[in-house]
Structure formats: structure tokens, C-alpha cells
């Protein structure tokens, strides 16, 4: 495997459309729940340990070769918000287009055929990691990091937060990212034998409620 492939996949400049999504941060800023670096950190920590850990586990399982359609169904069940399911599929579709060019593979082609409207983004991320020669824990790291880097970047724009402060938030989250990625990879290995019920299903009620509200806004900076 190539460790450098992980840097390519995790790079914020990877053309997969993630920059258009705030991961719920725009709704939280509007509601006054994120007002600066400290509350951004709280937000990211909560997101990482809930939907972030679920995404990381789904990505890791896909990277280990668990059937993507089964994982996509598991992602649906773990994403009760219709707005968030739609966003995850849009992001999955965009990631798949970029990944098929970057790491051509029959598995990515098959995924595109099976899900013309897009599979859940973490599932696509895992299959892309697999195509790039990466392992389950690599995919988990990439997904877990995205779950906090997206909101941090968005809040720089939404609140004119100092980018140094936003980056410091991400740096302080590194130990939590290690924990979440390792645990996600562990549960993904269990899912290989025991099925997808072994994957976590942690939820964040305010992210779900906020996503439905955000989807109804007439004017917004981010798609989700």
C-alpha cells in the first residue's frame, strides 16, 4: 500500500465537493450554538463521536470489502434525516466521479452502475480507499477527519473565525480522531464476520433536527 495515497484522498482539495457542505455547522451558527473556537470544538467533538464514528466505521468496512449495497442500506438506517441522506448521496456521487479517475477500478465502476444517483459518501470513500490500496483504518481516519475538518472550514467562512484558531481546534481533536478511527476499524473488522449490525449507530439529535430545518432555508451558504 501507498501511505501517500491517504494524503491524496484526505486532502481538502480533493475535488469531491465537500467544501460546499458544513456538516451542520451553518445551522448551529445560525441558532447561536457555535459562536467561536471553543463552541466549534465542542460541536466537532460531538459530531466526531456520533455521526463521525458511524461514517468512519462504514468507510472502514467498505475498505475491507464488505458488500457496498449492504453498507449503503446500513447507512440509510443510521441516517434518519431525509435531508442528510440526500446530502450523503450527492457527496458520494461527486466523490465517485473523482475517485474513478484517480484510482480506476472495477469495484468503483460497479458501484457507479449500482448507484447511479450516488451511494452514501462514507461507503464510496471506503471503496475508493480500497481502490487506492489503502486499508480499513486508513479509510476510517480519512472519514473521521472529514467529519470535523468540514465544519471547521465552514465556520471560518460563517463567523470569519481566524483560520489559525480553526486549525488549532482540529489539532486538539487529534487524540479523539485516533480513538474514533481505531474503534471504527475494529467494529468494521467485526462486521466482516458478524454483519453490519456490528457497526456503531451513534446519533446526534440536534444535527438531525437542524438538518431538516436547514434544508428548508431559502438562502444558505452551504448545501448541508
Amino acid at each position: 500500500m501507498s501511505r501517500a495515497a491517504l494524503l491524496v484522498l484526505a486532502d481538502g482539495r480533493f475535488p469531491a465537493g465537500g467544501h460546499a457542505h458544513s456538516g451542520g455547522a451553518e445551522a448551529a451558527v445560525k441558532a447561536g450554538r457555535i459562536t467561536g473556537a471553543a463552541s466549534l470544538e465542542d460541536f466537532c467533538r460531538g459530531r466526531l463521536h456520533t455521526t463521525g464514528s458511524v461514517s468512519a466505521a462504514l468507510a472502514a468496512a467498505a475498505a475491507l470489502g464488505v458488500d457496498p449495497a449492504t453498507l449503503d442500506e446500513a447507512a440509510d438506517a443510521r441516517t434518519p434525516s431525509a435531508a442528510l441522506r440526500a446530502a450523503a448521496r450527492r457527496l458520494g456521487r461527486q466523490l465517485l466521479r473523482a475517485a474513478r479517475v484517480a484510482w480506476p477500478s472495477p469495484e468503483l465502476d460497479a458501484l457507479a452502475r449500482e448507484f447511479p444517483k450516488g451511494a452514501h459518501q462514507p461507503v464510496v470513500l471506503g471503496v475508493a480507499a480500497r481502490a487506492a490500496g489503502l486499508g480499513g483504518e486508513d479509510a476510517a481516519y480519512c472519514s473521521a477527519y472529514e467529519s470535523v475538518s468540514g465544519p471547521a472550514t465552514a465556520v471560518v467562512r460563517l463567523l470569519s473565525l481566524d483560520p489559525f484558531d480553526a486549525t488549532a481546534v482540529l489539532a486538539r481533536l487529534a487524540p479523539d480522531l485516533d480513538d474514533v478511527a481505531r474503534e471504527a476499524a475494529r467494529s468494521a473488522r467485526r462486521a466482516v464476520d458478524e454483519g453490519v449490525d456490528a457497526l456503531p449507530a451513534a446519533s446526534a439529535p440536534l444535527l438531525e433536527v437542524g438538518a431538516e430545518g436547514h434544508a428548508g432555508w431559502a438562502v444558505r451558504l452551504f448545501a448541508s
Binding site: G24, A28, A31, R33, I34, S39, D42, F43, C44, R45, G46, R47, L48, H49, T50, S53, E73, A74, D76, A77, R78, T79, P80, S81, A82, A83, R85, D176, D197, P200, A201, A202, S203, A204, P205, L206, L207, E208, V209, E212, G213, A215, G216
Partner: protein
């Protein structure tokens, strides 16, 4: 009978909680001399009890309850019903669960039967003596043409307690389910215990909803932050599975500032609500339910 309570469906007297040997303040004290309890206890640390409800449609379209077996702190009463559905009330015969307790309730609703289950009081998770977690497992099965309304009172997580709740509902194609869960973090003005809950709903063999929530001291950090609860002390879910939603599910909608209804990826909807307290949470969920009727 005019007290609203019928005998247990099989005509036997209800199980009395005193047959178990609890060992915690607030419950009867264990005897000083070792004695043989009426039911052997798998663990000296807590109460193990399993209650079962079985509902079936009789040839006249009424619902009968061939199984209505309470155990220990989980007593069951058939309560007066006005419509064709059978009503059962779960009557907590002891405070709890306490740490170390393992409680389970199964309800099985056969084809064409209609069952409504409520509880007489809130379930209150309390600390045990040995610091271990309590477990509460609910298993619901709903056959085709059947309906289960599972509407228990709140679950209150008391400071110092640890409770793991799992609720799993399997609905066959053509079955209906209305399920409410409410978690209250601490009694009034009190910090909560540690609460893990997992709710899994399947329809026609496919998982429609799989959702975990962990909160309280010891939960993964960020649980009370702006992405998860943000200081709200009451959180609730209302799941409605209805085969009619296959073609036309109710659309997503905000139900106030901190509650939303969303169609699931199948014939079901989920209402998620957060509130400062139990009373306001119930008000939001009741309005959401009546809004669909």
C-alpha cells in the same frame, strides 16, 4: 371490574415482586439467614426479570392475550380498552432498574391483532451497589395486518446510574407500529447518570432505523455540546411504521425549533424532539402524533 384492571389473561394471579430477593435500600431487605428464593437468581448483584405479552386476533376480530406473563418488578395488567385493541399497562412493582438488574420485555402481536402498551409510571434508572450497569431489553414483533402501539412513560436517568437500553422492533410487511421513547437526563435540577440506548426498527426484514444515543458522565465527549444535546435535558423519538407510507410518506417538517419529522428510507417516519424537560417534550411528541392522525 370497575377498577380498570382485569386479571392476567390466563386467569392466574399476577406475579408478586416479593418472590425475588432485592438487596438495595428502597426495596425489602434480604433475610439475614441464607434462604432459598422462590426464583433462583442468576446473579446476586441484581434482579433478572423477563415479562412477555402475546396478542392474537380471535375469530371475531377481537384481540385476546394468550400470553401475559409478568415477572418480578415487571408486572403486567390488562387495562380497559374502548376500541378493538387490547390495552396492557406495565406496572413497575419496584423502583428501578438498579445497577446490575437485567430486565426484558417481549411483546408479540400476531396477524390481525391490535395491542396498545403503556406504563403506569416512569422507569427510573438508579445506581446499584456494585457500580455495574443495568440492562433493559425490549423486543417487539408485529405480524402482517397487526398493530402495536408502544407508548411507555419516560425513562429517567438518575445521577450515578448506568443503564443500557436496547429496543428492537421487527415489523412484518403489512404491520403497523407506533413507538415512543423519551429519555430524561436527571430528575429536576439533577445531573444525569450514564445512559446508552439503541433503537432498531426493521420492516419486512430490512433495517429501517438504527440509532444509538449515549449521554451523561462517561459518554463519548461532546454529548452535551452544540451538535448533540446542547443542554437539553429531555430527548425523545416517535417512530411510526405504516405500510401506507410506502407510496406517500408524510413529508419532512420542522415541529418547532428543536423537533423535526423526517421520512425514513422505507415505510416509516421518525420524529425527533429535544426539550428542556419531560413535560415540554411530551407536549411536542403528542402534538406530532395527533398531527398525523
Amino acid at each position: 371490574m370497575d377498577d380498570g384492571f382485569d386479571d392476567a389473561g390466563d386467569g392466574t394471579s399476577p406475579v408478586t415482586p416479593q418472590t425475588l430477593t432485592p438487596s438495595t435500600p428502597g426495596r425489602p431487605s434480604p433475610p439475614d439467614e441464607p434462604s432459598t428464593p422462590a426464583h433462583p437468581l442468576p446473579s446476586p448483584a441484581g434482579v433478572h426479570a423477563h415479562a412477555r405479552i402475546g396478542a392474537r386476533a380471535d375469530p371475531h376480530g377481537r384481540t385476546v392475550l394468550p400470553v401475559l406473563d409478568g415477572e418480578g418488578p415487571l408486572a403486567l395488567r390488562r387495562t380497559r380498552a374502548t376500541g378493538p385493541a387490547a390495552h396492557v399497562t406495565l406496572v413497575g412493582a419496584m423502583s428501578g432498574p438498579l445497577g446490575g438488574d437485567r430486565l426484558a420485555v417481549d411483546a408479540d402481536v400476531g396477524a390481525g391483532a391490535r395491542l396498545s402498551v403503556g406504563s403506569a409510571a416512569a422507569t427510573i434508572a438508579l445506581p446499584g451497589q456494585d457500580g455495574t450497569a443495568a440492562h433493559y431489553d425490549v423486543r417487539l414483533t408485529v405480524a402482517t395486518g397487526a398493530e402495536l402501539r408502544w407508548l411507555p412513560e419516560q425513562l429517567i436517568s438518575v445521577r450515578g446510574s448506568e443503564l443500557r437500553v436496547t429496543t428492537r422492533a421487527d415489523v412484518e410487511a403489512g404491520g403497523r407500529l407506533v413507538l415512543r421513547e423519551e429519555q430524561i437526563l436527571g430528575r429536576t435540577g439533577e445531573s444525569p447518570g450514564l445512559l446508552h440506548s439503541r433503537l432498531t426498527v426493521r420492516y419486512a426484514g430490512r433495517t429501517l432505523l438504527d440509532q444509538e444515543l449515549s449521554c451523561g458522565p462517561g459518554a463519548p465527549s461532546g454529548w452535551d455540546g452544540p451538535a448533540v444535546l446542547a443542554g437539553h435535558r429531555a430527548v425523545g423519538q416517535l417512530v411510526i411504521v405504516d405500510p401506507e407510507f410506502t407510496t406517500e410518506p408524510p413529508p419532512a417538517a420542522m415541529l418547532g425549533e428543536h423537533a423535526a419529522r423526517t421520512p425514513l428510507a422505507g415505510p416509516g417516519i421518525l420524529i425527533t424532539a429535544l426539550a428542556p424537560d419531560a413535560l415540554q417534550l411530551r407536549r411536542v411528541l403528542d402534538e406530532a402524533l395527533h398531527g398525523l392522525a
